[in-house]
Amino acid sequence: MSIVFSFMLGFFAPIYGGIFYGIDRVLKAKMQRRKGPPVLQPFYDMLKLFSKTKFIVNAPHTIWMIFYFLSLWAVVFMIFFGGNLLYIIFGHLLATVFFIISGYSVNSIFSQLGSNRKLLSVVAYEPILIVNAICIYLVFGTFEISEILAAPNNFNSLVFTFLSLLFVVPTVLKLSPFDASKAHQEIVGGIEVEFGGVFYELVYAAKFLEMIFVYSFIFILASNDYIFGTFLVVFSFFAVALVDNSTARIKIDSLLKALYMYGFGLGIVSIFWILLCCI
């Protein structure tokens, strides 16, 4: 039963992930006192993109991107099947590298700039994710998500991990102020620029998967207290949207500095906090 359920959750992730994205857009619109698009807007976009003409720049470019989507999907499956946190992080790294290579394999300056910046932002957030995974291990004694979700709630020890992860969320999702790798007005979406039609839909759906990936990290901090976990996710969802609306983009080198100083710093504080104060 639970296997079927996990499978369903994973399989339909690109679908219901769209609802989260729709809610996100409405939330941001409401913050700006706009009405905003309907919640189902991502699905309208999806269906529209299906009906457009299929354009590609070159075959490898498209293939790398398709495998980015597939690997990311596999990672989401691993999350729902309660896999190992480290494998999930590194699987996500692999997927991201596919995407970066996709960006490099066209002759477009925006795409290449986007890839360069994405690579740097990976260098910025990857260590934070690993350090936070180690923090989670220190508290629960396991990397397996299924075991973490069964363990008793111990959020007090993970406060700093939570704060540190708040820096990772906008970087992975490419939201302000850490959206230098996407930079819609500056480099026209970075790696996304050369995709059109149904292929852009894959990139678009990958955003939902990224959302599920990064918020699941926050969800598991609350371990078996699912209501509190949901609260954490909603809180960080709200906080990230607020920050996205109210801050300007920072340059890629400032991003690196900020993530290493605050995100990584908080990760280290978290290890000390867990080892010295909580155990």
């Binding site: 590609i56 075959a59 498209t62 690997s71 896999g83 394999s105 990857e126 050369e194 290890i271």
Partner: protein, 524 residues
Amino acid sequence: MVHFLIGFFDFVLLLYFMKVGFDFKNIKIQILALIQLILFAFAELNFTHSGSPDFIIDELAIFMMIIINIVGGAIALYGIKYMLYEDAPKYKKDIFLVYLWIFLVIMNFAVISNNLLYFFFFFELTTLSSFLLIKFRNDDISNKNAINALLLNMIGGLFLLIAVCLNLFTNHSIYINEIIQNKDYISAAMIFVVFAAFIKGAMKPFESWLLGAMVAPTPVSALLHSATMVKIAPFLVLKFSPVFSYEISFLITLLGMFLFFIFALEGLGKNSFKEILAYSTISLLSLMIAVAAIGTKESYEIALLLIFFHAISKAILFMCAGILEKLHHIKSIDDMQGLMSADKPLALLILVSFATVALPPFGLFFAKLFFVEYLAKLIQTDILYIFIILFFVVGSSILVLLYFKIASLLLSTNNHQQTPAKTPLSFVASSYFLFVFMILSIIYLVTTKSDISIFSIIFGALFVSLIVSLFVFKFNNLQKISVYACGENTIGQIGQFYFDFEKYAKYFLYVAIFLWLVLFGVSL
């Protein structure tokens, strides 16, 4: 009899080093050779046989021999083809190939010697062969770098000899199996062996010899960086790690991990392909030494994984670098632009080899994964390991940046239109062979560790289907469209950025030397 022969040849070898010192008018080499001669004479005079055998083939030795012979053998075979493109007289080419094979033989003996004096002999022989190989092209820069390599490695030899003499002086055994059985035997002698290993492993103040080795023909770099020479360093540390005290083990790990991070950073500023590979080698080598020095059962296995898969990946990468140099005349990574369209199989091989160093589901990645898991366990008992974690996670992601920075140039189809060239199969055969060997080893690894199996099957399948689709799907039925350039018809160019950490280099050096000194102080 064997002992007499080895002693005799060792004297001859040291006299030869002396002669090299005179030939090149290098007073340092002369002095080093003289000191070594005196110490060696002292050691020979005081040496007495104990019951232990002079050669022991244990598990570690077999493991090293597998690497040396399979990876080294593949490289030596590759050398035959490579030498066809080299501009040198026929007899020199033959001698070069003979050197390569002799080098492998020496390495085989080095890993099975149990007597430190014998080990010293083979250690010096590897120094000699690397000197001769680096000197092969005989121009100014080759000679200079060869002399530098000789000099630095002789310091390593000297350290080893000091260790032997100290052991003899304090009436301790110089048989490795006896040393590592004696748990409470901690002395300054041990630290000299470790220092010798550090120099062979090109740790911070002594990294210039390995970086300089890239002036030699590429099979030499491939051999030095992957299967032979530098692997003595983690091998020695692995051998002696069971008797390290906690402080020494921690300090070596810290130093190694620090250098892992530093070398990765310094590699970011380089633009020669071989130099970048060299930096990634010394970076990973420091990681191996760091892991080996922890000295527990888990770390032992992780270090073996690192050594094994690093040897294969680096051998493939260096062989590719040789092909690039000879066939496409590419040395700098900036010239690599457009290689994907010019020679797709080769470019993909390089790309996949990068993936094997950094990404799942390949061997080196698993080693790193196990290490993170192991570190998470370690830190529970000892908070000091937090420094190790910091350097490790940051260093790993910087290595990813280092590799895929090159990938960008490999893939881009910018202005440099290269003439399409097809690499002859005989040239890449050894690379493919090693690659298949690596895949088989990974499959073996996955079957022995059940918890990584599903993960690696999923991502392995993704990887395979990706490579297949890159060759199969052309999307000919879809409309092709030009890239977006704000409506312009001209296409912009983009280069790759470099991160220069040159100005911090001296601080890195100070920290490294400080750690060496602390290590030395603690051991006393």
